[in-house]
């Protein structure tokens, strides 16, 4: 089973570099996936989403890749900035178009100036 606790995976990057944050999801029937950014003391903030009939989606400075074969999501952030420092969560939706979200454990991104 999945471990729980206070330890979050951490990714430390230099300002201006590209960041890649990975996530494994659990349910092969999930049809919709979202990346959220959470800053200290704030709620999850929507970044980008992707439906299961796609394998790539691009936004402003962010790209999400979906590999359904291995149940893997990644978030790529181009030209990472200090303001990108936060905890990033992937979430999969279960139970249809208004279904609840199952969140991953999160990755802490630290951007060094």
């Amino acid at each position: 089973g999945e471990s729980v606790g206070l330890h979050l995976p951490t990714l430390s990057v230099q300002e201006g570099d590209n960041s890649i944050i990975n996530c494994a999801y659990s349910n092969s029937a999930s049809d919709y996936f979202i990346w959220y950014k959470q800053e200290s003391g704030k709620g999850p903030q929507f970044i980008i989403d992707i439906r299961s009939n796609m394998d790539k989606r691009q936004g402003q400075r962010v790209t999400v890749l979906l590999n359904k074969t291995v149940k893997h999501l990644s978030l790529q952030i181009a030209a990472t900035q200090p303001g990108d420092s936060a905890v990033y969560f992937c979430a999969e939706r279960v139970g249809g178009s208004q279904g609840n979200l199952i969140f991953g454990k999160g990755t802490k991104l630290s951007v060094k100036p």
């Binding site: 989403d49 208004q98 609840n100």
Partner: protein, 113 residues
């Protein structure tokens, strides 16, 4: 941009007391959710609500929990007799239409003494 707002930002309560957490979802949204996040852990689904009734609930959402939409704007989570392990951040979320990402409030930090 419209926001989900939650009050209070921090609630301190004695164990065994009742607590009500309040949320004002985005005004034209129809589907409402409560999640919680124990310190350092991932966000966990509690309950979803649509058309004045519960749509889904998790194992966490036991008989001590209830939700209500008392008027056209507020959405509340009540914990009848709080326990130490109820200490967490509680997030409200809402969506307006099918296949839209859930928008989260900034949460209420609940501390049980």
């Amino acid at each position: 941009e419209p926001e989900v707002t939650q009050t209070p930002s921090h609630q301190v309560t004695q164990m065994g007391q009742e607590v009500i957490l309040r949320c004002v979802p985005i005004s034209n949204h129809l589907y409402f959710y409560w999640y919680r996040q124990i310190l350092g852990q991932k966000v966990e689904f509690l309950v979803s609500f649509y058309n004045n009734e519960i749509s889904e609930k998790s194992e966490i959402f036991d008989d001590q929990f209830s939700v209500e939409r008392p008027d056209g704007s507020n959405f509340t989570l009540k914990i009848r007799s709080t326990k130490l392990e109820d200490s967490a951040m509680y997030f409200c979320a809402s969506i307006g239409q099918y296949n839209q990402p859930q928008h989260f409030g900034d949460g209420t930090r609940l501390s049980i003494l």
